[in-house]
């Protein structure tokens, strides 16, 4: 069984890798990147002041497209340092990019952990309420999870500023300065929406489990409500949580972009946005840097879970 699982994962891995290559080099398919970059470099060197005579159209440049995919792969086999272009200079991509990556991943992982804790807490608190009284938290949940991340992040930031102006108390650093990084607030803000999603999925799963007969039996045996919730129902909902966790992770990744832009964090996503347009290979590399660790993690976890399920027979 392990062999087929491994083979399946390998096929999936290579297909997605090819997909990343295909997407990452797309700008070379649609634009005459080489000549455009030449013009841009001339503008940056102030050799060219008038660009009105330059005209270009959208093209389908398959040759350049394939060539660029090859050049992106090139540094893997040779030890050429990858460079990127910024305002007239060629700068080495690493370690700068890696530092930004680490920073963003710290934010992401910390807030995902916080989101997990928050989500589980919210679910258990809601489940402790009698069934009829759960409508209100559910309604609030629906409204909150419908709000776009940009709104939530902006509102939180502005509220902190407003509190600061009104009372002089700075709860958190709002934007990242030169030495002092806004650290705590971005993590909290980034955790908010994923926490709501975890809450949403767990609540559904908890309510399903609540209907099961083993809960009735436990209640009949005189176990406390809270104990049934925390120990028995929660244990059986972990599988559902894991199934949704990949989606939540990718969702948090999307929130990270807006967070970095609004809080002026010089992280991974802002780096891709600032430099990915002129250097499409950065997009490809960035995708791999997210894809490979998360793929390993999720495939590994799934393997462990599957073995656990098979070892234990049916999960209750």
């Amino acid at each position: 069984m392990f062999k087929t699982y491994l083979a399946r994962s390998l096929i999936q891995f290579s297909l997605t890798s090819i997909g990343i290559m295909l997407i990452g080099s797309l700008p070379y398919l649609f634009f005459n990147m080489e000549s455009q970059l030449d013009v841009l470099k001339m503008v940056d060197r102030k050799e060219l002041t008038n660009t009105l005579f330059i005209y270009d159209t959208i093209v389908l440049n398959f040759e350049e497209y394939i060539k660029h995919m090859m050049t992106t792969l090139n540094p893997l086999f040779t030890d050429n340092a990858i460079q990127y272009y910024e305002r007239g200079r060629e700068l080495p991509l690493f370690p700068e990019f890696f530092d930004a990556y680490l920073l963003s991943m710290v934010y992401l992982l910390a807030s995902l952990t916080l989101a997990l804790v928050l989500g589980v807490l919210l679910t258990i608190l809601t489940m402790l309420l009698p069934k009829e009284k759960r409508a209100l938290p559910k309604g609030v949940l629906f409204v909150l999870e419908s709000l776009p991340d940009i709104f939530v992040i902006l509102i939180t930031q502005l509220t902190i500023i407003w509190i600061y102006k009104a009372s002089g108390i700075l709860l958190f650093n709002i934007a990242s300065g030169f030495n002092d990084r806004a650290f705590l607030l971005p993590i909290v803000v980034l955790a908010l929406l994923p926490a709501l999603y975890i809450f949403k999925y767990l609540l559904v799963s908890f309510e399903d489990e609540e209907q099961q007969l083993y809960v009735e039996l436990a209640r009949g045996k005189g176990l406390k409500r809270s104990k049934i919730l925390v120990v028995h129902i929660f244990r059986n909902s972990i599988l559902t949580l894991f199934n949704h966790f990949k989606g939540i992770f990718l969702f948090a990744l999307a929130n990270l972009v807006m967070l970095e832009v609004i809080f002026e964090v010089r992280g991974f996503m802002t780096f891709v946005i600032n430099h990915g347009v002129l250097n499409p290979e950065i997009v490809t590399i960035a995708l791999f840097m997210i894809f490979i660790p998360s793929f390993l993690f999720f495939t590994g976890m799934q393997w462990i879970l599957e073995r656990w399920l098979h070892g234990k027979g049916e999960l209750l």
């Binding site: 649609f30 776009p148 997009v283």
Partner: protein
């Protein structure tokens, strides 16, 4: 029966009315408003200057005003038709292309589906915003000098449409396969229906309601992407439409294409003032948030049709849910 349940469906009704009224109001405003010269100074009864533009939110300016003293609420109202209209347009074409794509995938052997599934998986590992930004920004920001205005409108739209086609096509194909397993398809085949006939007469009707829900969801998705791209300074219509250029004869070229007060554009223009005049960004972002909320409540209303239709039956259903079945018990080894 159906009509009544539709009226009882509050989320659907509320969300639908909100968007409809916003659109109608926006179009009417565009047709009948008479442009007034905005005032840069706010005066009280004694003609003393109270405040300079941009004005903070007050009863006269519920959402504040911009740098020239224009009422932000009216700006939002004027821009609504462009933003909502564009997102409906993009979502609609996403659905049309994906519908065709899904049908083609359905006809192709399963290997193609698995191949595309693996390849499209790559799209999950970064936010849509990043992909669209990297593809749109060259036209609008980085190399903006070399593309004409129509390219600056059409190309971003195409990118926004095509970026989600692979995933949506796979969804359509999956739904088609689920329907194809039903028994009545088998009988239609036995009756001698051709492939396309079966698709058109027996499968597609089952697909349309589902696709309609997905379409509404897509409108919400597109709105979010618009808001994100606005924050990144990219918005449809280009960021340089307001700059007047001079052609070779020295004559001013007047802006041909202008979508005034499109929400994403408002975010893009005003984000630099976010710390000093927060309402200038908050107003369009709130407009986005409310519209997305309305869209989501329509989706909720559509997917929960049954809870709003079978209200009377519900009490009977809930009393019979704990039936003890044979498979409820099993021996523990």
């Amino acid at each position: 029966m159906r009509k009544i349940s539709l009226l009882h469906n509050k989320p659907l009704l509320g969300g639908g009315l909100f968007i409809l009224l916003l659109l109608i109001g926006s179009i009417l405003y565009g047709l009948f408003s008479d442009p007034q010269e905005p005032q840069k100074v706010l005066l009280d009864e004694n003609n003393n200057a109270v405040e300079l533009a941009p004005f903070s939110p007050s009863t006269k300016f519920p959402l504040g005003s911009d740098l020239d003293g224009n009422n932000f609420l009216l700006k939002i109202l004027e821009g609504a038709k462009f933003t909502i209209g564009l997102s409906i347009l993009v979502a609609f074409f996403r659905m049309v292309v994906s519908f065709v794509g899904g049908y083609i995938l359905y006809l192709l052997p399963g290997t193609f589906r698995r191949l595309l599934d693996g390849l499209a998986n790559a799209l999950h590992y970064a936010p849509v915003t990043i992909f669209t930004y990297v593809l749109i920004a060259p036209v609008i920001l980085s190399f903006s000098w070399s593309y004409d205005t129509s390219t600056k409108v059409i190309f971003p739209m195409l990118v926004l449409i095509l970026i989600s086609v692979p995933v949506l096509s796979l969804y359509v194909q999956n739904e088609l396969h689920l329907i194809a397993e039903k028994e009545f398809i088998e009988s239609a085949k036995v009756m001698g229906g051709s492939h396309f006939q079966i698709f058109r007469k027996h499968m597609a009707p089952f697909l349309y309601p589902k696709l309609f829900v997905v379409f509404i969801q897509q409108v919400g998705q597109v709105l979010i992407v618009f808001a994100h791209l606005g924050l990144l300074n990219v918005f449809i219509g280009g960021s340089d439409v307001r700059i007047m250029e001079y052609d070779l004869e020295g004559e001013a070229t007047i802006e041909v294409f202008s979508m005034s007060n499109e929400w994403a554009g408002l975010i893009a223009q005003n984000f630099q003032y976010v710390s000093s005049f927060p309402w200038m960004v908050l107003a369009p972002v709130t407009a986005f948030a409310l519209t997305i909320l309305a869209v989501n409540s329509i989706v909720y209303g559509l997917t929960h049709m049954y809870t709003y239709r079978k209200r009377r039956k519900k009490s009977i259903e809930s009393s019979t849910h704990s039936v003890i079945r044979e498979d409820s018990f099993y021996m523990k080894s």
